[in-house]
């Protein structure tokens, strides 16, 4: 005889809500109280940010300060400083285009269709050189703008992207060296990684920006900006190397043996078999590391760069808008949120895409 097993009917929306939040009288009271608090807070926030807020610059700072809500006119009046820092006013369109170039480059390199060595190299080469030419000028009739004048969002993006572009391959090299069969190589690499990880980022940035010039000959120093980027890439790579190594440990030893038995050489095994699987294992932690280092770009302010957070300080710091710092920080937080949230959504997309072939 055949048994027919029927799954219990799924509860409706309302029934589900009742069960979750109103199962007992006490629970019902608590749920209602929480709901009331939430509605109150959301109302307060909306009232401040939207209903009672001032959006135009027409009244000037005084009218704005008098209003009960947020004073978004500070953004309208000062957005150029926030986005472009100290970059010369007439040239700021270049900085804007440079931001667009970096964002386009990042988005393109996130698309699986671009994941071949040649295409990625093309995208990155074109993106970074476009950024550099636009920002620095001095060619094609563009006025020269030194790195010390770069700032705002463009600088934040540039530091972040170059940190990752240099740090990521470095991290993979370190991770591979650390699992070398020669003990002196793996130990030395381990020592370097642990050494860098035991230092705070601030001290590394400070060393690269301020101390290194005393130790290096003039021709090796380069601009302070590039030394800072190198320092931050080194820091990034030490952490990312451990993440990659963790991912490699998750790859079965049989994988490498199978690849050897098929005649693949070391680099073929690493690039075709080991890394694709290791990076897949390491994906969540990697995205996390990207998010952290995006936010850590704000530390370059201590060595004198006006990235977006420092530019924000400058935006409200000049007399008349001094009272509007909350609005400026809220705005900058929103910009950070856009970038970090896109990163984590992209991470989620990658995990979904990869889970297709998982066991």
């Amino acid at each position: 005889m055949e048994m027919v097993v029927v799954a219990p009917p799924a509860p409706g929306r309302l029934e589900d809500l009742r069960r979750r939040f109103f199962a007992t009288p006490l629970q019902a009271v608590l749920s209602l109280a929480c709901l009331a608090i939430m509605v109150f807070l959301v109302w307060k926030l909306l009232n401040w940010a939207v209903f009672s807020a001032v959006f135009t610059t027409s009244g000037g700072p005084e009218a704005c300060q008098a209003a009960a809500g947020a004073c978004w006119s500070v953004i309208a009046a000062r957005w150029r400083i926030i986005f472009f820092g100290l970059y010369p006013y007439e040239e700021q369109w270049r900085s804007a285009l440079a931001c667009v170039a970096v964002v386009v480059m990042t988005v393109l390199s996130c698309i699986p269709a671009f994941w071949t060595g040649r295409r990625i190299a093309l995208v990155w080469g074109a993106g970074t050189s476009l950024f550099y030419v636009l920002m620095k000028g001095g060619v094609l009739g563009l006025a020269h703008v030194g790195e010390e004048a770069w700032g705002g969002l463009a600088l934040t993006l540039f530091i972040f992207v170059t940190t990752c572009l240099i740090g990521f391959p470095l991290a993979i090299c370190l991770a591979l060296l650390r699992r070398s069969e020669l003990p002196w190589i793996s130990r030395t690499t381990g020592l370097i990684i642990d050494g860098v990880r035991s230092l705070p980022l601030i001290s590394i940035l400070f060393t690269f920006a301020v101390v290194l010039p005393f130790a290096l000959p003039q021709w090796l120093q380069g601009d302070k900006l590039y030394r800072v980027i190198l320092g931050s890439a080194l820091f990034f790579s030490a952490y990312q190397a451990e993440i990659v190594r963790g991912g490699m440990q998750g790859v079965a030893t049989g994988q490498e043996e199978a690849a050897m038995a098929l005649g693949m050489r070391y680099w073929q095994r690493v690039s075709r078999i080991l890394l694709p699987q290791a990076m897949r294992n390491a994906m969540p932690a990697t995205i996390n590391q990207f998010v952290i280092s995006f936010k850590e770009t704000s530390l370059v302010v201590i060595v004198g760069f006006f990235e977006i957070l420092a530019s924000g300080n400058a935006a409200y710091g000049t007399g008349e808008w001094r009272f509007a710092y909350v609005e400026v920080y809220a705005f900058i937080a929103f910009i950070y949120f856009i970038f970090v949230f896109s990163l984590s959504r992209y991470g989620a997309f990658l995990e979904r895409r990869m889970s297709v072939s998982e066991r």
């Binding site: 079965a252 199978a258 690849a259 038995a261 005649g263 050489r265 072939s357």
Partner: protein
């Protein structure tokens, strides 16, 4: 002892092979010679060094003493020799070791393309040919995780064959399989044997051994204890350890 389809020149010659894991003496002066087209079945209790021996043949393990010569090339520290030998020697593992991030077809195509530098179209044609041969052409676009154990092992065989090796090594290819899937893998191996492939199989499938083996090798404690034709091996083994082992494997 010498089967009819074996010809003169040896495919493999092992002389006084020694292998140590640290201080543990895993292979104790092994001698073995395999002719082209010959099928060898290796058996013996767990830990007797069967895997170690066949893994030395394609240098997944490095031997510490003696000589190994594969298809006339000596296996030593010369990387060129190692690469050359690995191209000509296919291996099938107990746990399949398919690449989980590639489709079945890609698993079969990758090595011919990057090691043998075959153009994609040719590699794909070869891959489809061998997938047909192991009777799973319809699974080409799937990922390994979507296949049963028996199907995965047949893919692993096809993957090794796509390199068009002259010698095939099998290390307990059916030990990790559910019983009902064992025969589909053995059938493929029997077909391969009948086509004249030189095969060295570590397996406890005695029915298979009877059907295809030209020679049986019995190992114990890191040494080859007995070498005999299947007939002799199964019916009139002189060796005490062999008889005991056979009664355990065939027993119940």
């Amino acid at each position: 002892m010498i089967s009819t389809n074996s010809t003169g020149e040896p495919a493999l010659r092992i002389e006084n092979l020694d292998k140590y894991y640290g201080t543990f003496h895993a292979l104790r002066g092994i001698n073995l010679s395999v002719k082209r087209g010959e099928k060898i079945v290796v058996c013996g209790p767990s830990g007797s060094g069967k895997s170690t021996m066949i893994r030395c043949i394609n240098r997944l393990e490095q031997h510490n003493g003696g000589r190994i010569e594969v298809l006339g090339t000596e296996l030593n520290d010369d990387v060129g020799n190692i690469d050359e030998i690995r191209r000509e020697v296919g291996m099938v593992f107990q746990h399949f070791n398919l690449f989980p991030h590639m489709t079945v077809l890609e698993n079969c195509m990758i090595s011919p393309m990057i090691v043998r530098k075959q153009p994609r179209a040719q590699a794909e044609a070869t891959a489809r040919l061998y997938l047909e041969k192991v009777r799973i052409p319809e699974q080409a676009m799937k990922y390994p995780s979507q296949l049963s154990g028996g199907q995965q092992q047949r893919v692993a065989i096809a993957r090794a064959l796509c390199m068009q090796p002259q010698i095939m090594l099998f290390d307990e290819p059916t030990s990790a399989l559910d019983p009902e899937m064992v025969s589909e893998v053995l059938d493929v191996m029997v077909t391969l044997a009948s086509e004249g492939m030189t095969m060295i199989c570590v397996t406890h499938e005695m029915g298979f051994a009877r059907r295809v083996a030209d020679r049986m090798i019995f190992m114990d404690g890191g040494d080859i204890v007995e070498e005999a034709s299947p007939d002799e091996f199964f019916t009139s083994s002189r060796n005490e350890r062999t008889r005991q082992f056979l009664s355990q494997v065939l027993g119940h």
